[in-house]
Amino acid sequence: MAIVEHTDSTALSGDDGVRRRDFINIAAVSFAGVGAVAVVLPLIDQMNPSADVLALASTEVDLSAIQPGQAIKTTFRSQPLFVRQLTEKEIAEADKVDASTLRDPQTLEERTVDGKKQWLVTMGVCTHLGCVPLGAGEGENKGEYGGYFCPCHGSSYDTAARIRKGPAPKNLEVPKFSFTSDTAILVG
């Protein structure tokens, strides 16, 4: 090293003062940098969901036993999923509200499948900090808007599971789902 540093730099440099060794230095450091990134990527990526977790990414739900006004709790991607058949009254209540006045403006139509407006399928995960709201089970507190109520920090959802009061920023998430028959849906 000492020898290199004491070499007369003009002997190695062109007219612009750039030494050939500068190129080697930059190339070597860049190459090592790319190598370091290539090593770090898998080290980080291993923490993402593994194949077996992702394999459970879709769920089939049988709707035949759910009466109007009833809801069931099941799981989707190991998180709670609420499937609810709304009553005429609950649909009317949801439609009555002017969506543009809401915190997360959405109509019931936008949150359900065409022609099957009574089937409200949402994640049972409060959009505040991820608690499971009450209201799907029989006799549970549905909150002051008749939908779901999160006991953790008091968020109230209406009959279309839209956020109406409390700290949650968004409506209960509607996952991607489709009807495989009149009485069954595939979520995910």
Binding site: I44, M47, N48, P49, S50, V53, K73, T75, R77, S78, Q79, P80, R103, G124, T127, H128, L129, G130, C131, V132, C150, P151, C152, H153, G154, G166, P167, A168, P169
Partner: protein, 430 residues
Amino acid sequence: MSFPWAEQYTPKNPVMVWIDEKLPLPRLAYNAVGAGYPVPRNLNYFWNFGVLAGLALMIQIVTGVIMAMHYGANDLVAFSTVEQTMRDVNAGWLMRYAHANGASFFFIVVYLHIFRGLYFGSYKAPREMVWLLGLVIFLLMMATAFMGYVLPWGQMSYWGAKVITGLFGAIPVVGEPIQTWLLGGFAPGNASLNRFFSLHFLLPFVIAGVIILHIWALHIPGSSNPTGVEVKGPQDTVPFHPYYTAKDGFGAGVFLIAFCALLFFAPNFLGHPDNYIEANPLSTPAHIVPEWYFWPFYAILRAFTVDFFFVPAKLLGVLAMFASILLLFFLPWLDTSPVRSGKYRPTFNKFFWILVIDVLILGWLGGAPAEEPFVMMSQVAAAYYFAHFLIILPLISRFEKPLPLPGSITEAVLAKYGKTDGATVAVPAE
């Protein structure tokens, strides 16, 4: 470094001489925590808490390594292996209760250590680095304690993990991928449990490493003291050993008595009954609360209930909670008063105690349910917390007229005992 009058390490035993030539580790210990470290002669019992925090870390590492021998980091068995440790393993109940309550005692002594620093201005020049490294230790402790609380895989473990990782979900755009990445799934599960176990095992040793840096940075200027006046000569100091090893030893005795009282007579006093129910992703406990040592920060998190322009309330709460700790990193530059000790700062002194009360109130509110009047009180208390550091402290520094400082540590000590011996008047160093 040390003061020039520090006692020198001179091994007499030929074995020690031989070791000192090859690896001067005993010399390092002698200069760091032995007679070779001169310490101000006037330290009060609030200066015990650094050593006590070190003792608490040792208790956690010993009991934790033992707990790990009996623990199964898998969501199918985690809950039952912890119960087996409690019921079947010889002295397993002692290890687990010591570990769980040890965490609480670690935080108790660290909070006292931090407030000692706040009152006596220990964060001021030339000890800013000591303060900053201390805050790094505090953040590492919080991460370690959080992950440790998830390991028993009870209801509070599960829901605590969900709520805390949900905080990262509040970050716009990248929040949800980050949350999924942290958990290794869409909700806490086996992958989360395993990585938390791995990191919970690792971080205490990282903490031990940062503690070495913390002490190293402390030993460059030397310890602060209750007057805030710097050491001026040999008459201001005494050797760490035997003077403060003895004083710390007494403190350690008192600490261990208090620890054992809780450990043996009320081991579940600081815990939550819900955590003796196995984790159930489909049922949220009625009242999710973190461990008590997170309550002040949890209260700040929940204080934000309305959106501010385009920033959602949830994100504001998360930002405020992180800001409440990160703010402390700027403290050495927010408090510009040249006087260190709160003893000689009449205005600062009053506001310091108001801050203590404010943090205690925040703590109480963090454990209370999220309903009125607690939410409104959290908002007031959280606003005051930020106002203290960002407005009140800079203003006091500017306008306060401090009381006259003693000429030296020795002068202060002698004045306290009514002696003004001319023979021991301060002699400047060097």
